[in-house]
Each structure stands twice: as structure tokens, then as C-alpha cells.
Symmetry: C2
Subunit: 354 residues, 2 copies
Amino acid sequence: MSNAASELAALSVPIVGAPMAGGPSTVRMAGAVSDAGGLGFLAGGYLSASGLGEQIAELRAITERPFGVNLFIPAPRPADPRAVSVYLNEISGEALRQQAELGEPRFDEDDFSAKLELVLAERVPVLSFTFGCPSEQTLARLREAGLSAWVTVTTLCEARRAQAAGADALILQGIEAGGHRSSWTDEDESGHGLIALLRLVGSEISLPLIAAGGIADGAALAAVLCAGASAAQVGTALMLSPEAGTVPSQRELFAEHRPTRLTRAFSGRLARGILNRFMAEHGANAPSAYPEINNATSPLRARARERGDHETFNLWAGEAYELAREGPVAEIVSAMGAEARQVLRELAERYASG
Amino acid sequence: MSNAASELAALSVPIVGAPMAGGPSTVRMAGAVSDAGGLGFLAGGYLSASGLGEQIAELRAITERPFGVNLFIPAPRPADPRAVSVYLNEISGEALRQQAELGEPRFDEDDFSAKLELVLAERVPVLSFTFGCPSEQTLARLREAGLSAWVTVTTLCEARRAQAAGADALILQGIEAGGHRSSWTDEDESGHGLIALLRLVGSEISLPLIAAGGIADGAALAAVLCAGASAAQVGTALMLSPEAGTVPSQRELFAEHRPTRLTRAFSGRLARGILNRFMAEHGANAPSAYPEINNATSPLRARARERGDHETFNLWAGEAYELAREGPVAEIVSAMGAEARQVLRELAERYASG
């Protein structure tokens, strides 16, 4: 059994906490998922290496269980500056309205190399990647250091490339998932429903698969296990817990039954969130320009979040967000595990013969 | 237990054959699904009432088992004729190339009323609807006549309305599904991954649910059962069977690993098919104008199909089409049922305690 397979088999609940960068994921959430028998994740995206180092230390102070860190693979090159400037001109009125400035549309690599070295030095058990795949050399270094490297993919093609590069496990992100699409290029039309993706990839790839996207209860967890997942990665399902950093104005929206949509309006990269005015007004015009747009809108989003103006900041959430429950992370994780076991037992009995 | 629930519980394999109008579904396929312990469906869309009557008679000659008929709910009003004519001008060169004429962009109601009366008179056991919901009065008539009425939905909102109107069961079509989206209005962005849709609807609606979209093997069947479906509706999974009307040039493409896309290029209504040149060239410009565009492109598609020119006709298929297997319908249905049972048994054992 591979490292990744044995780590996953060792979980008493086949649930991985999703790394929700930018606020919703917290050190407490990661610790609570791991302590509940799942695998908690720190969201390394947007953090500096020193910020991530602090979170790792804090997490180790509250749990002795294994955990993971997620990092964003940097974009290969800066976006077209003209497209960025046309869009920033369009949203300049939004910044005025929030009494905020637009940030610099900076291209950066999210401190990736420094965070990678930190995670290696810290011997974090599991490292997952979003927006692409590390090089074969990097994956080999991680393997030699005893880390398990999980690569997020959205298509069979990406899954093949991640396996060839030496990934230890794959996180399959279905089109249902909240937050940024983890496709390796920011395309409009790629992506699959989660069950189809699990079956397409599972029919060809022998790595352990972690299913992500719209999994908010134990029945959905049982479903992805049937479709070949070793575990489910859940994020939105934990967003109403006290451990989550979800702001109050977003928590309130979970009861409103709005649809979710994919948009580039906030970050310049496709991401799924609860539909609001900013998405409706600017989504059609936002270019593919990440991280430039994300950096530029950051102050205005922060200001809107502080003010509770939920029509102006990003409300990342998966398609099944309405099923998210309140309560401590430990209770949610345990309840999902128990529900999944019950569903599997009942159906195995019902279809025992035939 | 409702009629629909007991019909579904009586199936020895929880599989419903999808009605694939326009060729792929055949009387033989419907009979084979029902004989294998599932529920076969005739695709009533595009047929005249007399044509459908002949198919019902033929089906009853080859099986004594229950079966269903699917009908298309007519569009509420004709499309904008200017949008239609601009698009037909764009694709006139395609017709020339096929040495075909474009058909008349006719608005019609697909002989709906006559087919509805026929199905009532014939006491067909199950009637399913696509593209909308019959009136309360119609659903009451069907119920009084002892027919089970299943309504296809793509969102929780449609599910609520179908329940309120008196549907006996709901077919939940996930975004993965091949062929036409069965949304009640032809929108760009609505729809859900199948598991999220099952959980969202199942958390609120008590009707039996049939899951449709990307279900090509027993593991996917087990997955949708876990997520709350009473049965899976499978279409693409049967398209390589000898009973299917799938043309040879489309069968060959199943081995090619092309992506699928949603398009209005062929019919004026969003539908999922394997990506080809016609979709790539015209998809972005096709208006929402069904059935007008469908009627207009019909001769050119028929001609391309005859010639085996798979770049020019509609290659409807679901996201998991690459997993479709060859072999008789009875074998596919039985194998999927056996695989699902095995998956459920193994997982129930693996997660028995904890």
C-alpha cells in the first residue's frame, strides 16, 4: 500500500477538510477535523511562508494527529495588462462605493517556493496542490522526504499528467465544488460532474482518489465512496461551524436559497459562489487574469466583508451549500461518517440478492 | 406506497432506460431493458401519434413487462423569427456542403396532445415528461387513469413545482447527462452535478427520485442509490448495444476520448454531445429557438448521418460516455446491477464499524 493509501485507510472517518483559503479555513477547523478522525488541512494559499509557519505551529499545539497543507501552484505567466486595466476601470466605481482603493494588479507567485521549503522542513505529512501540478523533480523531493503529495485535478487528462509526474493521490474536483476551480488552466467549459469524473478517472488511474464538490452529508459521502473515492474532501459543509472563519453576513445567506454560479468577477479565475450583485454585474466582463484581479480587488472585498455588504464580496460555496449544518466540526464530521455507514448498510441489505 | 414507488420497488434491477429520441432508443432496447428487470422507455419525442402507437404495439408484442413512454412538453411560444433567420443564414453553407436543404424553421407542438391521448387510451404504465411539467389537470387525469406520471427536473425549484402539480415521481437530470437539458426554460447557467441535485431535492421532496446523468457502470449506480435515488436512468450506457439505433460513425467516436460540451448549435436548445466541428463553429452563435432550429437542421443532420460525417451531426452523449460498454442491453443492465450490489456489499463491510 502506498503512503497516501495507508494514510487514507487509517482515517476513522473518510473525510478530508478542504483548504478554503482567504478566511473560512482556520487552524481550529483543521485540528477539529483531524481530531474527529478525518484529515484536517491548512489553507496555505495567500499566506506568507512565515504566516503558514505560524499556523503549522499552532496546529501542532492543538493536535498530535496528521494533517495536510494546501499550496497554490503559481500561474505560468502574467496576464494581458490591457485586459486587466479595462476590467479595473469597470470596477473602479465599486471601490469608490466601498471607500476603498483598488489594489495593485500584481502578478506574484504566492510565496510558493518559500512555503514549499517550509513544508518540507516541517515534515508536514500531506501536501496538496491547487491550480496545477508540481514538477517531477519537486514531487520526487517530497517523496524522498516522506511527504505525501496530492494533486487536484478536474479532468481525466489532468489526472493522467499528475500520475505521470509522480503524484501520490489525486483530489478530483467536480463542477459542484465551491471556491476556485482547480483546473490547471482557467478554461470556461472543462469540468465534470463528480460521479462521472470519479468513474472516468478511476477506470484508468490506480492512485487513491479523494472526491471534492457538493458533498454536504453522509449520503453524498457514501455516494462518492461507491464511485471509487477513498475519502471526500468537504469544505462548504463545515462553513457554518463555530471553527470556520465564515463571516456573519455570509452565514446568513446560507438560508436564502440563492443559486451558485461560476465567476471570474472577484479574482480573475473561475470560482463558484453564491450569486450576488457584483457577480451579476461584472461576471460577464471579467478577464482570465489571476492573480492580478484577485490582488486588485482584495482591499475592496475586505472592506465589503467588514461592512457586511454581501452583495460586493465573494461568497464562495459549493452547489449543495444549503445542506450545510450548524454545529462543531467534530459533530459534523462524525455525523457524516455515521450517516454514510447507515446508508451503505441499509442499501447493502436492500440489494443483497437479485 | 405510491404507484410510482411500488413500480420502482418491483424492479429487480433499479435501472430505467433513458428515452433517447431521434434514433438511439428503439423498441428492442426498451423491451430488453424491461425484460432484464429494469424499466424500458419508448422515446415519444419527434414521433407522430401514429408512429408512437406502432411502437407501443411492437413493444407489447415482444414483452409483457411494464414500460414507459416519454413525451416532450411543447415550448410555450415561438422563438424570435429574426434570431432564427440570422442563424439559418450562418449555417446555410453547411446545408450546401451536405447537398441538403435547410428545413422550414417550423414551430410545432410535437403532436403532444394526440400522443397524450394515445398513451392514456393505451394505458401505458408510466409516462415521463421532458422540457416542463403538464398541468395539474393533466396530471390528475393520468392519475385517475392509473398511469404513473414522472416529471424531469434539473433544479430544486422545478422539483417543488412538479410536486405541487401532482407528479408521481421525479427524474433528476444532472449536468452530466447527454442529450437535451430537460430544464423547463432553456437557460445557460442552471443545473447541478447529479449528487448535489439528489441531495438538495431529496432533503425537501418526498417523491421517488430517478437519477439521470453520467451513470455508465454499477459503481455510479450504487452512488446514486446512496444519494437517495430509487433508480438510475441510463441512456449513453446503452448506446453501444446492438439494440441501440446509434449510427456506426458515432459508435466509432466512443473510443476517441473527445470532450463533451453543451450546445444549441443543432437544435436551438442546450444539449450535451461529443464535441465536433459543427458545435465548435456554430455553438457560440446559436440562439435559444427550439423547436425551430431543430426542425430547420433536421434534413442536414439526417444527410450527414447517412454519409457518416460525424463532424456535422449531433453526437448526443453524457459525460461518462467513454465508459459505455458493448454487448446486449440485457447484459449491460444485469452487469450494472451486479456491480452495484457488489460495491454496496464491500463498502458496507469496510465501514461496518467506527
